[in-house]
Each structure stands twice: as C-alpha cells, then as structure tokens.
Symmetry: C6
Subunit: 77 residues, 6 copies
C-alpha cells in the first residue's frame, strides 16, 4: 500500500464519486487484514451474507457523504 | 454498471430525493455481489428479516442526509 | 406510494421534526417490503425486541439530523 | 405523547444538551412500543446487556451531534 | 451525575478532544445503567469482546466528530 | 498513552488523512482494553471475521469524515 491510491477526493461526476466511496470502504479491510488468502475467504463468505452486504453498503454511504461534500455535491454540473 | 445511473444528486422534491437515497443504498449491494441469482436469494431472505430491513433503512437515512444537503434541503420550494 | 407523502422537510417545531423523522425511518421499511401482511408480522416481532427498537431509534436519530439541519435547528423560535 | 416535550433544541450548557440527547434517544423507543409493560421488560433486559448499552450510547452520540450543532457548540460560553 | 462534568466542548488539542470523546461515550452507559456493580460486570465482559470494543470505538468516532467541529478542527494550532 | 500521538488533524494528502483515520479507529480499542495480551488475542480473532472487519471499516469511515473536513477536503491540492 505504499503507492499513491488516493491523490484526491475530487471526481468528475456523482457516479465516479460513488465508485470512489466503494474503493474507500474496501481499503480499510485490505489494511486491517494483510493476508490476501484470508481476505479472499472473507469476500466469498460475506458476498453471500445479506447482513454483511448491507453493512458494507452502510460504510459506502458514509464515505459517499465525505466524497459528495468534497465535491460540493457536484452542484456546478 | 457501465451506463450512467447517477448523473446528479439534484431532485425536484424531498420525496424524489428519498427515492434516490433508496437507489443509492441498493447499488452498493449490486456492485458488491455481481451474481443476480445470489442477489435475488439475498433479497428474498432479508425482506422477511426485521433486522435487515432496519439496517437497510439506516443506509437509506445516511444517503438521504447526503441528498438533502446536495439539494439545500429543498429550502426554496 | 404514488401519492405525495413528503412535500417538504420544514416543520413548525422540533417536536414535529422528530415525528417526521420517525415517518422517514418507517417509509424505507415500507418501500423495501411491499407485502403488508409480512410487514405486520415484522412489526409485531421487533416491537418486543430491544435490539430492534434501539436500531430503529438509531435510524430516527439520523433522519432527525437531516430534518433539524433543514429547519436551521428551529433557531428562530 | 400529545403534550409538548420538545419545544426547542437550545440548552444552556453542553451537559444539558447531553441530557436532552438521552431523552431524544429514549423517545423513539417510547413511540415505537406503546405498551409500557413491554417497554419495562425491554428496559430491564437491555440494561444488563453490554451490546444494547453501547447501541443506546451510539444513538445518544448521534443526537448529541444534532443538539451540539443547534447550540453552535456552546461556543459563546 | 449532579455535578458539572461537561462544562465545555473546547479542548486545547485534538488529543484532548479525543479523550473527551471517550468520556462522552462512557457517560451514556453510566446514565443508562445506574448500578455500579452491574456496570463493572459489563465492563469486564465487553473488554474481552472484539465486537463490543469496535462498537465502543464507533461511538467514540461519532463524538469525536462533534468535538472536532466544536473546536474548528483545531485549525489555528 | 501519555505521549503526544495526535498533535494535529491536518495531513498533506487525502491518503495520509485516511491512514490517520485508521489510527484514530485503533486508539479507542487500545484505550478501552489496556492489557496488550488480550488486545492481541482480539486482533487475531477479528482479523478473520468478516463482520468485525466491516465494522472496523465503518469506524474508519466516520473518522475519515472528520479528518477530511479538518483538511477542507484537500481542495487546494
């Protein structure tokens, strides 16, 4: 995780901002669990688990608040 | 998910903003679980589960905060 | 749900704003689970479940943030 | 719940604002579960349950954000 | 809890603000469960429970948002 | 925890702000559970638990909101 993966919070459109929010939600998992094999097991697991999917969706929503504010809600589009 | 599904956060009314928030909550699930058959199973499951329904409602509430701010709370209506 | 149920986020008082927040929390459940019979079962269930009651209370709190901001916290009262 | 219980979000001090946040967290439970006997059972239950206590604490935190903002964080004190 | 425990949300540094957030998270538990013996049992329990620790951490994060805003994010330091 | 670990919320880049958010999420656990041996057990446990990883990710998201606001969303970069 040494390379630059988050140079800015600005995106062209709300949709790109939403995609960035999903990325932000995933990176925390990546940084907490460094072993890719365990991460893959976890992913296979929670992708079939409604509760986990909703919980991920909640984290995405929180990040989307941040990204949307950073872009002034794309009001000038 | 390549087409444009979120061109703007602006809506005419609070009610349309609320509908957009529900959409925003659902898209994260869609993007995390790509297989539509599994998604359908999950939906059937959590629609009968009070905890899951409340959790979805919580994600909608977070998105509604964002959408409402993006629309200046529809104050000029 | 075709009729207008959310024409505005403005309320006269904080207390009316709180009542609106409860409504906003409930509508997401209504929209996710269209069958009223299942909804009634769920309601009976979670009304006796402390965890579910607290979870609903959390969703109400998030909506109350939005409604309070929309009303400038009723500062001019 | 017909009488006025929330005339304003303004309080004299942060501590009074915190007390108001606890009240706001409790009212949602009261409004969702109208039967006082069941409410009492629930209270007895969750007061011994660490998870429920933390969940209540989370709702209080969300309301405290709202109340603090409504009071401009008591900056002029 | 009659004495003054929260005279202000202002702190000198972000670190003191973080400590205040932990205090704010704990007080809600204290106020909900008045019996110190039960509170001690609960503490012993949840201090060994990862989920509870993370949940407490979440409440601290919410309070830290409030305290940071109250201090204008300590921008003038 | 007596030394200074949080002198400022300002960071040079969003990515550094994200790293700070992870730190903020971890410190609350550290402060709640003082025994390092128990903390290590907990870490080993929740690093293999999808739900816990998502919950941590949620706390990081909340802190990232605070840090991003403190840095004006790094808009001048």
């Amino acid at each position: 995780m040494d390379e630059t993966w988050l140079p800015t919070l600005r995106t062209e459109t709300p949709q790109e901002g939403y995609a960035l929010s999903i990325k932000l939600a995933r990176v925390a998992v990546k940084m907490t669990q460094a072993d890719p094999a365990i991460r893959d097991d976890l992913c296979a697991l929670y992708e079939k688990d409604a509760d986990a999917l909703i919980a991920v969706s909640s984290v995405v929503a929180t990040h989307f608040q941040t990204v949307a504010a950073a872009n002034d809600y794309w009001r000038d589009k």
